[in-house]
Symmetry: C2
C-alpha cells in the first residue's frame, strides 16, 4: 500500500524545511538570508517563504528585518535562563496534573520506556541517544499533563534551546542525577502524588538550569 502523499502546501514545506536548516546549523545562528535566496534554495517563490518566516518568527526562531532579510536568532545565556525558568514552571505543572489523572501503568509505559532508554544510553556512553530519550521523557510528561497550551509553549521553547543542547551535551557531567530525578517523578505520578511529582520535577529542572548556566559561563559561551 502506497503512503498516501497528502498534498502539503509549500508554506508548510517551507516551515519544516527552514526549521531543519536552522537546527542542523546550515543556517547559522546570527546569520542573515535574503528571502529571494531562501526561495530559490527551497524551489518556491517568496510568498510561501514569507508566510513560513512569519510563523517561525512568532516561534522565536528567526526575525524578519526589512531589507536585511531573515536573521536566524541566536540564544544568549540570558535567553537560556528565561527559557529554563518557564520550562521549570510549566513542566512542573504538567507533572502535577499528570499525577492527578491517575494514569495506569500502560498509559505510563512510554514514559517508563524513555527512562529505560536514558539508562541504557548512559551505560553505553551514548550521549546522543541519552539526549533523545531525555527529550522524549520531557515531551511525554508534558503530553500527559494534558494542557494543550503548555504542550505548545514547551515545544516552542524546547526548539529555541535545541542548538544549545547539542553544544553543552558533551561539556556537562555525566547525567546520572538526571536519571534518578526522572525515576522519582515517574514513581510520584504512578502513585498519584501530585505535590511530590511537582516538587521533584521542579527541583530537577532548577538544577539542570543552574548546571547549564554555569557551564556556559565557565566556557565563556555568550551566544549559541
Amino acid at each position: 500500500m502506497q503512503q498516501d502523499e497528502k498534498a502539503v502546501s509549500n508554506t508548510e514545506r517551507a516551515i519544516s524545511e527552514l526549521r531543519r536548516l536552522v537546527f542542523s546549523g546550515e543556517l547559522a545562528a546570527g546569520s542573515d538570508h535574503l528571502e529571494s535566496e531562501l526561495a530559490e534554495r527551497l524551489g518556491m517563490s517568496r510568498t510561501p517563504i514569507r508566510e513560513a518566516a512569519r510563523t517561525l518568527e512568532s516561534q522565536g526562531l528567526l526575525e524578519l528585518r526589512a531589507r536585511k532579510g531573515v536573521r536566524i536568532l541566536s540564544v544568549s545565556p540570558d535567553d537560556m535562563r528565561e527559557i529554563y525558568d518557564v520550562l521549570t514552571e510549566l513542566e512542573s505543572l504538567a507533572a502535577e496534573r499528570a499525577a492527578e489523572k491517575g494514569y495506569s501503568e500502560e498509559q505510563l509505559a512510554y514514559l517508563a520506556e524513555a527512562i529505560e532508554d536514558m539508562d541504557r544510553g548512559l551505560e553505553l556512553g551514548e550521549l546522543e541517544a541519552w539526549a533523545r530519550a531525555d527529550d522524549r521523557f520531557h515531551s511525554e510528561l508534558v503530553r500527559l499533563g494534558g494542557n494543550s497550551r503548555v504542550i505548545a509553549i514547551v515545544a516552542m521553547l524546547a526548539d529555541q534551546v535545541r542548538r544549545a543542547r547539542t553544544v553543552t551535551l558533551f561539556m556537562r557531567p555525566v547525567p546520572v542525577q538526571s536519571n534518578r530525578d526522572h525515576q522519582g517523578v515517574y514513581e510520584a505520578i504512578m502513585r498519584g502524588d501530585a505535590q511530590a511529582a511537582r516538587n521533584l520535577h521542579r527541583t530537577h529542572r532548577q538544577q539542570a538550569r543552574d548546571m547549564i548556566l554555569n557551564l556556559l559561563e565557565r566556557h565563556r559561551l555568550r551566544q549559541l
Copy 2:
C-alpha cells in the same frame, strides 16, 4: 509639535485592526470571514491580511481554513482552565522574580497605583475601571518579573480570555478579596519576600480560576 507619524506597514495595521475587531466583538467568536472580505474592509489587498492572519493564528486568536476563510476562535471552559493554569504558574514566577530584584518604592509606584485604582473602582462601583486597573496590575507585575518570554506568553493568553472577562465581569461577586490579594503581593515584593510573593499570587490566581470556572458552569456558558 506634530506627532511623527511613523510609517506603519499594512500588515501591522491589519494585525492591530483585526485584534480590535475581535475584541470588540465585531468579528464574533466562531464566525468565518473570507480573506477578500477582510481585505476590502480594511482597504488593502489579501497579502497583508494573510500575513496578519498567520500572526494572529499563532497567537491563538483565529484560524486559517482553506476555502473557508478566517475563523475567529471561541474560548470554552476547558480553554479557560488551561489558560488560567498557565497564567497561575507564570505570574507566580514573575512575582517571585520581582521580589528578588529589590525594587525601590518608586519602581513599584505604577504597581501601587494600579492597586489604588482598583480600590477606587470598587468604591465607585465602576467595574470596567476596576477591570482595567486589574489588567494593569497583572501586566505590570509580569513586566517587573523581567522575563521577556513570560511577558509575551502572558500577554497572548490574556488576549485569549479578554472576551470572556467582559462577560463574566458583571456576573462575578464584587472582587474585594482580589484587591486584598494584590495588596499582599505588593507588600511581599516590597519587602523582598520572594516565596511569599509567589505563594500569595499563586493562591490568588487559583481562586480566581475556580471562581470563573464555577461561574461559567452555573450559567451554562460553553463558548465565549
